[in-house]
């Protein structure tokens, strides 16, 4: 569905992506792992067209996202949903208005139907009677859930998750992992998750790719990752300070 070829991006003189090659399969959960600061967020922002690469291609069903104009990108972005690391809820809007936001902007739905859809999307992420609350009144876990409800509000084909469990306690992290699995099964959507949370990765991934020093150094299913002898991957999944990955 998405084919990333030799993607390169530098900021000033710092190479962040140095030839990323990756295939994202339709209807599957692809998890991209890697250390903080390795460029996972940069990669995901390229996939949705928020950043332009220095070189390389991102083909979405054969169309190169990197060459698109802003108008063409806006058409493509309607096929995407995105859950940001801090949820990125609009803090001047209520929870209900946040979930309704993309629908109000693009779907042209009558207000009465909109209320039902908001309730349904919030129910999907396990929330009830929170429509009139403000984002500032929500816990971190609730914010992520509302962010997910907003991300899937337009029934997108592809949902991007930027560190969905960062900042959550282990129980809430597991809860979010279950939520990701359940919603993916219900919606049959393509999910792309970037994280450094190994337990989340093992629980949800159909495919795992490891980003290290600007390249995908290893990819495969969870069983492959568990049995891989690649020293970089082993050090990362086992969480060891000693090994080929240098701790600065």
């Amino acid at each position: 569905m998405i084919k990333i070829t030799d993607l390169k991006k530098s900021f000033n003189s710092k190479k962040v992506l140095d030839g990323v090659n990756l295939d994202i399969e339709k209807g599957k959960i692809t998890v991209i792992i890697g250390r903080s600061g390795e460029g996972k967020s940069v990669l995901i922002k390229h996939i949705i067209g928020l950043l332009k690469p220095d070189s390389g291609q991102i083909l979405l069903d054969g169309q190169d996202i990197t060459k698109m104009t802003e108008r063409e990108l806006n058409e493509v972005r309607r096929r995407f949903g995105m859950l940001f690391q801090g949820a990125a809820l609009f803090d001047s809007l209520t929870v209900g208005e946040n979930v309704a936001f993309p629908l109000r902007e693009h779907a042209g739905m009558p207000e009465a139907d909109l209320k039902e859809v908001i309730k349904e999307k919030l129910r999907l992420v396990g929330l009830k009677n929170v429509e009139n609350m403000m984002p500032a009144d929500l816990s971190g876990g609730m914010k992520k859930r509302v962010g997910l409800a907003r991300a899937v509000a337009m029934d997108p084909e592809i949902v991007l998750f930027d560190e969905p469990t960062t900042g959550l306690d282990p129980i809430m992290s597991d809860n979010v992992a279950t939520l990701i699995l359940d919603t993916q099964r219900d919606l049959k959507t393509t999910y792309i998750v970037i994280t450094h949370d190994i337990s989340l990765t093992y629980k949800i991934a159909d495919k795992v790719a490891m980003l290290h020093e600007g390249k995908i150094v290893e990819q495969g299913d969870v069983e492959y990752v568990k049995s891989s002898v690649n020293p970089i991957l082993r050090q990362f999944v086992e969480g060891r300070a000693e090994g080929p990955i240098k701790v600065l």
């Binding site: 949705i48 928020l50 990125a88």
Partner: protein
């Protein structure tokens, strides 16, 4: 010496880059104002924020400025036996200069800083990125309504400041300093022409554009977390005030 030239070069580069960035943002904001659907709800929300919520501060500013103008001009004009000119002095000063300028400065402090802070917070918490991912243009959604509100509401606020200033001057001149009420009002009406007020309103609209554009530009381009948000608010107030005072000179030299 080389360091000095480097610093001047960096400083000049930043000025050119900011000016170019603001011009581009203004162009985009104006373009989006004419592309439907209009964000009417956002525009009214911003008009309320810039206009209605600034009313109290401009009323206070106008009242005390008019009052102090009456006091100062009375002391000066008394020496020539021209106390009857206190009314027109206050009214002309307010309409042509003090009304629009003080309104611009006060609204920059209140609404401009708040705009920069709000947009800056939205930038660092990825809310602006979220708009892009939902195929909503942030300039159309966030910047155009704020600039439109600034341009439309500053003249309204300037009229209020002018009127309250004249009332403040009247209270001090007539009630406290003993100038004849009929003379005060009559002289004011004789001297103040509609063009004096109209030119002041054009100035106010330009100041509204400057303060909202500067605030939106700095807020929109915030980097570096909470410190960056504070920095953007400070820059927007300082640059906004300086540009208002500079443009006031050029507008005045063209108009009068």
């Amino acid at each position: 010496m080389r360091e000095l030239f480097e610093s001047v070069g960096i400083w000049a580069g930043m000025i050119v880059s900011s000016a170019g960035g603001m011009a581009l943002m203004l162009f985009q904001a104006i373009m989006w104002m004419f592309i439907p659907p209009l964000k009417v709800r956002n525009i009214f929300k911003q008009m309320e924020f810039v206009g209605v919520k600034s009313l109290f501060v401009v009323v206070l500013t106008g009242a005390f400025t008019g009052a102090v103008m009456a006091l100062q001009s009375y002391n000066a004009l008394k020496r020539f036996g021209a106390e009857s000119l206190v009314g027109p002095t206050v009214a002309l000063s307010m309409a042509r200069e003090l009304g629009p300028v003080l309104t611009g400065l006060m609204v920059t402090g209140r609404a401009g800083s708040a705009m920069a802070t709000e947009l800056g917070t939205m930038r660092v918490t990825e809310q602006i990125d979220a708009l892009y991912t939902m195929a909503v243009n942030p300039v159309k959604y966030l910047v155009s309504p704020r600039i439109l509100a600034g341009v439309l509401m500053l003249p309204v606020l300037a009229i209020v400041t002018d009127f309250i200033g004249v009332v403040g001057g009247y209270v001090v001149g007539v009630k406290m300093l003993g100038i004849n009420s009929g003379v005060y009002i009559g002289r004011t009406v004789d001297f103040v022409k509609p063009n004096d007020i109209f030119d002041g309103l054009i100035k106010a609209a330009v100041f509204g554009l400057i303060l909202s554009l500067v605030a939106c530009y700095h807020g929109f381009n915030t980097v570096g977390g909470a410190a960056g948000v504070g920095d953007s608010a400070t820059k927007s107030v300082v640059l906004g005030c300086v540009l208002i005072l500079m443009s006031d000179y050029f507008l005045t030299s063209v108009m009068f």
